[in-house]
């Protein structure tokens, strides 16, 4: 008698858990479009937010695309292109860029897409990738030609995460 009560409670919890899990999975799938923090350049054409609606554009800062100017009233201005591979969007931004903003790094910008296809950003956030490495290791990878940070993600972690570059290491 005691055992069966316990078993019944166990089954109730298992069934409730299954139901809740299914409901959550369905909800997340249904609202996935609303849960995105930013749109990638190649998603813009499909979604077509229009010139009036502010949205976030995210991707990598294209290598060699960053041009820094000063506006007539003396504020810093940056022009760069955001890419996700298949598509690229030019962006203009007036303001101070965050520390981590670099070519080849991820970025999320908030703004509006003007009819001429240029994205006018009012806010720029830098994204950080999931790699952590000491400066000497990054230098060694760059020096030996294994990685150009402007071109994007570093080589597979196993090739550098135990590297101890005291002297210049060639090859390997």
């Amino acid at each position: 008698m005691k055992l069966s009560r316990k078993k019944r409670r166990l089954w109730i919890v298992v069934l409730a858990g299954l139901g809740l899990g299914t409901a959550t999975a369905l909800t997340l799938t249904a609202f996935q479009d609303n849960l995105v923090f930013f749109l990638a350049p190649s998603e813009i054409a499909a979604r077509n937010p229009g010139p009036e609606r502010a949205f976030r554009l995210g991707g990598l800062v294209e290598a060699g695309s960053l041009v820094k100017n000063t506006t007539p009233d003396g504020r810093p201005e940056a022009r760069f292109r955001v890419t996700d591979g298949p598509a690229t969007v030019p962006v203009t931004y007036v303001g101070v860029l965050p520390d981590l903003f670099r070519e080849g790094q991820g970025v999320v910008t908030l703004g509006k897409l003007s009819p001429d296809g240029e994205f006018r950003a009012s806010e720029v956030l830098a994204r950080h990738d999931e790699t952590y490495m000491p400066p000497e290791v990054a230098d060694a990878l760059k020096r030996t030609g294994h990685w150009d940070p402007k071109e994007g993600a570093p080589p597979p972690a196993a090739s550098w995460n135990t590297m101890q570059p005291a002297p210049v290491r060639q090859g390997s």
């Binding site: 005691k2 919890v13 997340l28 956030l125 994204r127 790699t131 550098w160 995460n161």
Partner: protein
Amino acid sequence: MRGVSTPAPSSPRPLAATAPRGGGGLHRFANPGRFLRLTDRLLPWLWALAVAVTGAGAAWALFFSPPDWQQGETVRIMYVHVPMAWLAMGGYAGLAVASLMSLIWRHPLADVAARELSPVGAMVTALCLATGSLWGRPMWGTWWAWDARMTSVLVLFFLWVGHAALVRAFDEEERGARAGAILALIGAINLPVIKWSVDWFNTLHQSASVTRISAPGMHVDMLYPLLVCALGFTLLFAALVLARVRAAVMEKRLRQMQLAQARRQEGAA
């Protein structure tokens, strides 16, 4: 101090040797006397070990680990932020297990553990959010963003606080424990959402660096101090929860003795 001077509730599930049979070997620990004797010897060692490991980890992380090639010295926030995130989620998994044991097997110590776990869990989740904010400002350029990762961790914080409040909201302790256990199990659905939010959705937050121990996207000179810090904070977390459970068991016994004394005096009068 909460709970010391509250009138004794007539708990139908006393923390005594009357634990139901058949719940597995874990009911051995339901004997409060044995629990208190065991932890009395264990706890000082646990505290000493926790403080030593955390201290060593902090020194390593702050002074003897390299800066990041991009983030510079700010990367040293990671050695607090990441262990707090792991503890916030791991602790909640522990809360869910305790809630299961409470709901299905009616284990008497599980309710006490859940009740004492949630304030500590709320604290580490708050620390995770606060250190993340302090890290995000110089690196991303913002204190906060409503992306899926940060929002789901904020929900986790509210679940912790909600559980802590709910189990204390009933006059009858058992009903509070039951309601809290149900809330904790419903909230457990949030754990996979947090874990995979950075993979399922576009987020400002980056993906996990330490996923497979074979090739974590982190240099070993940063990974090892991170693991030491994580171990240290986990030991601190465990010591804190154990100390709170110990105090709670003693408070419960105190209430039982006060009740017994009051009955004796009534009988004598």
